[in-house]
Amino acid sequence: MIIEALVQYYKDHESLFPPEGGEEQNIDFVIILRKNGSIVSVEDRRNPDGEGQLFIIPKKVDRTSGKLPTLLWDDLEYTLGAYSKASARKGAQVKCQLFKERVRKLSTIFPDHTGLKAINLFYEAYYNSFIETEEYNQLSESPRATLTFQLQGDQTLVAEDERFFAYADDEKTYEGICMITGENDFLTRVFTPTPVGGQGKSKFVNFQVKSGYDSYNREQGYNAPISKKIDCYFSRAFNRLNKKGSPNSLLIGERRYVFWATSKDSNIELSEFDLLFNKLMKEPIPQKVQEVENALLAPKTGIIHTDGEQTFYIMGFSQTKVRLSVNYWRQETVASLCQQILQHIDDLKIVGDKRGEHKFDSVSQLLKSVSRVEGKDVKIQSNLSERLLSSVLEGVPYPVGLAQSCLRRILATLHKKDTKGKEEIGVTRRRAAILKAYINRKNRFNNHTNNQLSMALDINNQNLGYLCGRLFAVVDRIQEKTMESTSIRERYMNSASATPAMVFSRIMNLSNYHLAKSDKIGFVIMMEKLKGEIMSKIPSSGFPSRLSFDDQATFMVGYYHQRQSFFEKTTEESK
């Protein structure tokens, strides 16, 4: 399913890729030759970062063991027999010989090609004098640099001729049924590397010889019969989707995700939905929720060019030096995906933005707000990102770990003073939204739909956790306004949310003293009224001795709602 989906992507966008056998590679040095093989100059094509210039040239061969030259270009050991250590001298000579022979073989197929003739002449006549020069010694210092040839007067390298690409791979492999297409074809022994994030030779499919992966004495790629053609297709598709800067690839927490929507129109390089999805998961720029919602409703209203019946694929994976491992895979229609995301956004809606507009939080931001911040690093729990992402996409309750981390961060950051926006302090809008969404989704999933928390203050909510939270907000506000101190919040929030019975009698007493000190009659009356209203809802058995985890989360939401209502009232008063 994964490989098939990638192959389909390749087929839909075939025009974007070079012909089979061609590959984009960095070339560091180019030797310019005259038609008779003599050297004009050696050009250094490296950019200031030290990377070679990119060209589309024959595919690099897979050299796991043994000496195998690439066609028409390779590192200096193969192309010029250069070596830095004396011990490598003999090996380098053999490699150079192999390279020369490969070029000669190609020129028998294209006898009239002037570029190939020039290269052959170079090796026959001018190579021996070249290796005596100072230039050659300088090149030998970096035998791993890549080199190729260009004919004087030509605009392109000899290797860039597309007719040669078919000869890039001349390894004879077995024939058999390809397990992806069901057709008889030449199978591939080793697969093309699909490194993401600089993991060198990491591959999608990789079997190391005699390490426990060989089945029925089959070795390497023959354990999973896939044709060379299909290997080319899916690895190209995968590499393209994961290219640096591609909007189809995301790093959330420590997991990398790649996603794409099938696009029927091959002229559109990227489905618009892919871009939207990227924004939803990553962008920290504040955006209006209304805009995002409009975008998601688009499949119905037709605002974006996205057909609701298109399939959307998302794959979560991690990579080692050797191979890739798949952690998450989902395929879904765009329409149902939009549905899930809209639900997620709706669950997160909570009161408390300036100017009354709802802000939009990306998944990345949500994770950041529940994680520890150490200097510049945000330490997100290792599998929380994939659990959160999967629950958003599948419409199931958020992971408990999310709510737990959130609660922990709230209590841990209460004491902190201004962190210049690097870390959130206490109960922020985002954290309250997370807890509210967690509770609501959990209740909805378990069919307890009458316990839903609202966006703003709900005076009819009888939940004990909610009421305790509200009361705490009132007491906290009284102290803040009368004493200009927040010590009750910092010292008592933890115990008030976990064991209310032990704590509330004390803080209620304290708030009475605070109120007595105030001379603003209006304020005192309002607070007393509020206290009375909340207390009347608390049952005669008194404050609960313990609050369950869910009720603690509801406490925080109640606290936040009540607190926000104070700010709304003051803005009304100031008008």
Partner: protein, 226 residues
């Protein structure tokens, strides 16, 4: 002369987890979406098998929606061999992730295909009993399956994912409906062809699921690519 028709049996199979490993992602295991005929055959064989017959899977019905789960396990990255005196697994530990199926339930239909004496491999042609007939084996299977007897614990793809089973009488019972999901899963492993014991070949077939039902072609049909 009455024509002999292979008798078809039905087993309902379920388990907490299953992993029908894809060959290309065998190292960091990724499961196929549905059970392979190979794994289904193994379940029938775990209950009852004799060299006198083979099981041919005919139909697979998926009763629970397809759900996934990721787990990380400590596995061993080397093969033990008779030529080497030992294998210290602690030195060969590798941590690998697996993407497996969760909460699976299938109804598997299979035919007991009787193999005439002369067509069996030579090593099984030693004793010939006079009253050998397919009905005997049919009865034995039915008895064993209804009692829950098996030679070894049936499993769903990997041995650690044990399967529970029960014999289903398709004629009389009211059957649970398969899931309402139709999809083309592409090519999937059908089974291994052990005709040539030294080099078994893999066989593949294209899986089409219609409303939770997969019709499995016969081993020798042209839909099975070898």
């Amino acid at each position: 002369m009455n024509e002999y028709i292979d008798k078809e049996f039905c087993l309902e199979v379920w388990g907490e987890n299953a992993c029908f490993t894809r060959p290309e992602m065998k190292v960091e295991r990724v499961s196929y979406d549905v059970i392979t005929p190979s794994a289904a055959r193994a379940i029938f064989e775990a209950i009852f098998w004799k060299p006198a017959f083979r099981w041919q899977i005919t139909k697979i019905e998926v009763l629970h929606p397809i759900k996934w789960m990721t787990i990380k396990r400590n596995e061993v990255g080397a093969l033990a061999s008779t030529k080497v005196s030992h294998l210290f697994i602690e030195n060969e530990r590798q941590q690998r992730t697996s993407l497996i199926l969760r909460d699976v339930r299938y109804r598997l239909h299979a035919k007991l295909v009787f193999i005439p004496f002369d067509k069996r491999p030579k090593k099984f042609q030693k004793d010939r009993s006079k009253d050998e007939n397919p009905a005997k084996y049919n009865a034995m299977f039915e008895r064993r399956a209804s009692k829950g007897q098996c030679f070894n614990q049936p499993y769903l793809g990997n041995r650690e994912f044990t399967a529970s089973f029960r014999l289903v009488d398709t004629g009389t019972e009211e059957l649970q409906k398969p899931i309402e999901y139709s999809s083309d899963f592409g090519f999937m492993l059908y089974d291994m062809d052990f005709e040539n014991e030294k080099k078994p070949k893999s066989m593949f077939y294209r899986v089409q699921m219609n409303d939770g039902v997969i019709d499995v072609p016969d081993k020798d049909s042209e839909e099975v690519k070898k």
